[in-house]
Symmetry: C2
Subunit: 415 residues, 2 copies
Amino acid sequence: MNALKKSVLQAKKTASVLALLSAEQKNAALRAMAASLDAASSKVLTANRLDVDAARKKGLAAPLLARLALDAAKLKNIAASVDAVAKLEDPVGRVLWERQRPNGLCIRKVSVSLGVILIIYESRPNVTADCMALCLKSGNAVILKGGSEALRTNQAMFEALVKGAVRSGIPKAAFQLVGSSGRAAVKELLSMEDVIDLVIPRGGEGLIREVAKISKIPVIKHYKGVCHVYVDKEADLAKAERIVVNAKTQNPAVCNALECLLVDESVAKKFLPSLGLALAKKKVEIRADEKARPLLSGAKKASEKDWGAEFLDLILAVRVVKGLDGAIAHIEKYGSRHSDAIVTENKKNAELFTNTVDSSAVFVNASTRFNDGGEFGMGAEMGISTDKLHARGPMGLEELTSYKYVVLGDGQIRA
Amino acid sequence: MNALKKSVLQAKKTASVLALLSAEQKNAALRAMAASLDAASSKVLTANRLDVDAARKKGLAAPLLARLALDAAKLKNIAASVDAVAKLEDPVGRVLWERQRPNGLCIRKVSVSLGVILIIYESRPNVTADCMALCLKSGNAVILKGGSEALRTNQAMFEALVKGAVRSGIPKAAFQLVGSSGRAAVKELLSMEDVIDLVIPRGGEGLIREVAKISKIPVIKHYKGVCHVYVDKEADLAKAERIVVNAKTQNPAVCNALECLLVDESVAKKFLPSLGLALAKKKVEIRADEKARPLLSGAKKASEKDWGAEFLDLILAVRVVKGLDGAIAHIEKYGSRHSDAIVTENKKNAELFTNTVDSSAVFVNASTRFNDGGEFGMGAEMGISTDKLHARGPMGLEELTSYKYVVLGDGQIRA
């Protein structure tokens, strides 16, 4: 047996121990992990500098370098996030419902840990700490397969976090960092369906499609976030402008940022010129269809490939549509089932939109940027799912659990 | 495009219509379907006789023939089950939680239909009606791929049920019966991951493993039910005998029937001789380990392959174990994570068992035969899952839904 398989089997062995930890034990360990990471700050930052230097030499693109680079303040935030997970409610052992049956049986549906969770991610080091914290709190063992560019950083963070956990009595094997890089290790992990219960891939669409294609283990994922805002003929146009500017520019590099604006033809003339000026101030490039372009000074002509595109940048596709039906049809054809919004004061239109648009989160008069575990009041999140099975939308602690039925009787037999 | 693909795409097109049907529309259709099936009784029974005759000529085994064969009473029950689904609560549109956020956003987690569900099953014709009823009630389109032995029966039932549904305004394409037999059709269906949302295979372990292996679509399943009863040293032995006899003999052909009895060494001498007589009366063949055999008159010697075996027949494996730990270790090694029970009057032992045994349902002082949607008060069921993602244990109407977040704002933007 190779080292990789051995480490996964060791994690599996700890799963039954982790599943039965009390909230107090887990919270004490999380606090110790946060403190230990804080104490290892200079070690982690040194490792991170080596990673960043190597990545720069390899010519990694600037946005990726920015994601990789840590400083003391960022690291402090990461440790604080681990500490914050200690304050969240224990997701394990919740009684989801309880029923007394006519024959006297008491049926309880109780939340339980999943077992072993594999996270495959690219070069954001905060994912290492977040996933370790969330998996421990949900009583799961975790296998971390991070990007090779961040390996030194991840290793330094991982060691500090494990040290804190072990000091609090958590089995060391509950956390496994896969050092070996490359596709062979990933492929081997994804074939261990008898040992690993769930895979969560995070990163670019290419990585996620590759994982979904070869995995024998259930995968929860989103490929991309092509988010739409539809401005209805009965929209409050001031709200609409505020929401569009926020959804596009507040953080354009993330999956819940706006990529395509749809405007009802009856309000396009009134709405778009002012919006164009506001977006120009934020340096947003506009790619508009034939009807919208004359109303947006400086707009480029949109091509077919701009519909459904995930720009992750200060670029916005704009299209004039025929009412709500036109908007819904566009989203159905080009959307990614992630986050879509309507701006309207008409309740019926709002309801038709939220009922019909088949996305993980649908918004009425609010920015798509709110599709986020923290903003939904769920605490930290493992990512956002556009799948429909098990977990959809932000994946928090509850989504890292399953359930079992516990049936208490007094000798009942079936007639 | 071939006919199979065309029919699945037609089903997909209806999904958005089905998802928005009101409870009243669905319930009226279910009642009409039941009435239409009742009215077609002689047609269905004629078709069934042809299927049964052909299967007998082909040499189908007696238990399979029994499953395939219908009579007027059985068919009446099937129609009554369809009617009963009309009385269950609508699983779509439930508000699972609602939160008002400090910024004024109202976040609602709302249950929604999954979309298109594929059922692959063998020769039990009642599955056709049950699945059509449950899928309609949960707002899903359904693709039915039944066993070729039951094709004429399924077709006659299907036609009658669809006629009733269409009369109530349900789109005909919401139900698709795959006529083409053979693995090629199944393989093609299982590759349509962009159109079909969920596959539920029902039948023998071989069929289910094959489906799980080749499917690109998420599968919910159980391979087999190797259910255990552990008789603790603090068991009420009268209760234990009643539970063991019931779990083994009340319906030995089903997945929640008992297959292996584990007895604590300290009560084996007191418990087994009387149990042996009770089981002999029910003509149960006993395969016992070395310690149990002398205590059970007429018992055969168990071999390694009897542990973990799914007999689905009047055969019981019996093993003497060292206390609770021995029982848990045996179940961990040989169990199928389906249904396992402890008989004990000791609350701590009961709790340790229910916390540690990783099965879809764990029982204290009750027969494993209760792992069933109806017995749990969930109404009809689509099958039982031993998976941990999305649905575990009996799959009822709620398990045929997903959810979305509906966020209502008044112009909120993210800071």
